[in-house]
């Protein structure tokens, strides 16, 4: 049988997932001591790990070249979904929020507001669901700059502790939704390799429960 291939989002989610695998009892030395290899066998070759950027994890899983993936809910919300999202892994927690200059009532007035964000789809979806017309501007770097420079009225961004906002005279106006890491599965893989995938999902779920 071919090993199940799992795409992990590089960085913190990768480390947290590897910790979870090790807790289940899978040998992950290939990942912790990776050289330049891109496909890494773990758990006595029952699985293969691929390390990728967040949005690429979704692409690989959607196309079925990876069976499973670990990716943040933020990336899922921004990039759409045609896969199964089977497990909230509970780590990588933060939230999407609308934030603006402190003390200013964002919803007052009738002129259309401008929103700066790294997540245009999330921002658009949020305001569409509120029936509000806004102008969305995509910013690649520190989004907090945009309201400070007068480019936008507010921002939609990921907020973890809120320290950056505070230090720049911004505050959360509204939480849009909570975010955490998710285990996603390709639709065809789940149908064709149900047993193996379900076993892994159950193991991860149990290991995760034990962690709390």
């Amino acid at each position: 049988m071919k090993p199940l291939r799992i795409a992990l989002t590089k960085g913190r989610l990768e480390k947290d997932t590897v910790a979870l695998f090790e807790k289940i009892g899978y040998d992950c030395t290939a990942v912790s001591k990776k050289g330049r290899k891109l496909i890494l066998p773990i758990g006595e070759h029952r699985f293969e790990v691929v390390l990728a950027k967040a949005a690429d994890v979704i692409t690989y899983v959607e196309h079925g070249v990876c069976d499973l993936g670990v990716v943040g809910k933020d990336t899922i919300m921004e990039n759409g979904r045609s896969f199964y999202e089977v497990l909230d892994l509970g780590f990588g927690k933060c939230r999407f929020a609308l934030a603006g200059p402190k003390g200013k009532d964002f919803f007052s007035g009738y002129s259309a507001k401008t929103i700066a964000t790294k997540y245009p789809n999330v921002a658009r979806g949020y305001f569409e669901s509120r029936g509000m017309d806004v102008r969305v501007i995509k910013i690649e770097g520190s989004v907090e700059l945009a309201p400070l420079l007068g480019l936008s009225d507010a921002i939609v961004d990921i907020v973890e502790t809120g320290t950056t906002l505070k230090e720049n005279g911004l505050e959360v106006i509204e939480t849009i939704c909570d975010i955490s890491a998710r285990l996603i599965v390709n639709a065809a893989s789940l149908k064709l390799r149900k047993k193996e995938i379900e076993t892994l999902v159950e193991q991860m779920e149990q290991a995760k429960e034990g962690a709390v």
Binding site: G64, S82, Y84, E85, V86, R182, N186, A188, L190, K191
Partner: protein, 399 residues
């Protein structure tokens, strides 16, 4: 500068030689099966009015349809699906036909996908629709035809069965708004257990809520039916399960056995499916290669209510898989090159016609000299060259 004069739009591609061969092979193999079962071929226009695909009926989002206007300013779209036009055609042109009506089609559909995802905007589909027939016999016939068709192409496929009525029955018992019901459908479709639990945690823990919680996990083999039955004993949700179980057992007799999966969480799909839904998967393809189901209310939209069931096969996917597996017969090579000497061009053409009539594949030489013609024949790997002058000389170039 003509920047776009040498490339094709994203999501489209040319098919060359063996790729064409593969597509035609799949089309013909499947069409032969459909025709042998008494289905009649139809072709619907590539352009249709937007209204035919009304998103609230078709479940096809307006953002995925390629739209333009005709010279009266009316919105037309490039066909994004074949079942809706066949519903239209049946309701408007086949009113007085004896029923059931058996139709099949092979034609591309067009959908605008987000850029840079590697998906095709143009996909050739072939499928059947059995209209004006209700019940188990019709459902079995259509699924059995799907099985027979796929077995000729990718015999290792897995067939998945579901029932849209089960989710509807359970959801109807929950004290929630239609919006929340749609949210539930969406998260069950995505098997998003976390979001599903968040929605259900706010409700009183009734048997329906417990059943809904289990719904995305209700997939697997025959044991699923027992679990579903133990979760819901009310007649409304027990009926679809009992029916699906019957179908499952009947289909087991065809030797599908282990290759059948049941998924009661199969609630995705176009909104027009009312009853059984089914799909097929193959190892090499990350998505379903066949999708189908019963759509008993779709024809209402076109003013001639009648029950119907059908499916569509992704021809491009099957062609690609079969080509990679080396199951497509190679295109036959040209057997003979015919070269006419100066003044014997017409005689050479007649000679070609004679050879073709005998069943050979022939090319006519466009070269001035015998040497050039011979060189070309060798380059193309042809086995024989015939020089036509006063007499016809045959030279064998290889065995």
């Amino acid at each position: 500068m003509k920047r776009y004069s040498k490339i094709t739009p994203e999501g489209t591609n040319d098919l060359l030689f063996e790729e064409c061969q593969a597509r035609r092979y799949v089309e013909k193999t499947l069409a032969d099966v459909f025709a042998a079962h008494g289905f009649h071929e139809v072709v619907t226009p590539g352009l249709e009015f937007y209204d035919v695909f009304n998103p609230s009926v078709s479940g096809i989002g307006q953002e995925v349809m390629y739209k333009m206007t005709d010279h009266h300013g009316r919105i037309v779209v490039m066909r994004p699906d074949s079942t809706m036009p066949i519903g239209r055609l049946t309701a408007t042109r086949l009113q007085n036909q004896p029923r059931p009506i058996r139709l099949f089609y092979t034609q591309p559909i067009y959908r605008s996908n987000p850029g840079l995802t590697g998906r095709s905007d143009e996909t050739v589909q072939t499928g059947i629709e059995l209209l004006g027939a209700q019940g188990k016999r019709a459902d079995l016939e259509v699924i059995a035809t799907a099985v027979e068709a796929l077995e000729k192409c990718v015999p290792d496929f897995r067939l998945e069965l579901g029932h849209a009525g089960f989710f509807r029955a359970v959801a109807a018992q929950l004290p929630v708004s239609d919006d929340v019901r749609e949210d539930l459908r969406r998260v069950i479709e995505a098997k998003d257990y976390a979001a599903l639990n968040r929605i259900l945690d706010g409700l009183e823990n009734t048997p329906s809520v417990q059943a809904m919680r289990r719904l995305p996990r209700l997939f697997g083999g025959e044991e699923v039916f027992d679990e579903a039955a133990s979760l819901c004993s009310d007649p409304a949700s027990a009926k679809p399960i009992a029916y699906l179980h019957q179908l499952y057992q009947s289909l087991s007799l065809t030797g599908l056995g282990q290759r059948m999966i049941v998924d009661l969480g199969l609630v995705q799909r176009n909104d027009y499916y009312t009853n059984i839904v089914f799909s097929a998967y193959v190892q090499e393809f990350g998505d379903a290669v066949l999708l189908g189901g019963r759509y008993d209310t779709l024809l209402d939209y076109f003013g001639l209510p009648m029950p119907a069931v059908g499916f569509a096969v992704n021809v491009d996917a099957l062609a690609k898989i079969m080509l990679r597996r080396g199951q497509i017969p190679a295109e036959p090579q040209t057997d003979i090159l015919v070269h006419g000497d100066g003044g014997f061009e017409m005689k050479a053409l007649r000679h070609v016609s004679n050879l073709v009539a005998q069943g050979f594949r022939c090319e006519t030489s466009v070269f001035e000299t015998r040497e050039q013609a011979r060189e070309y024949a060798v380059l193309r790997g042809m086995g024989r060259i015939d020089y036509v002058g006063d007499t016809v000389e045959t030279k064998v170039l290889k065995d």
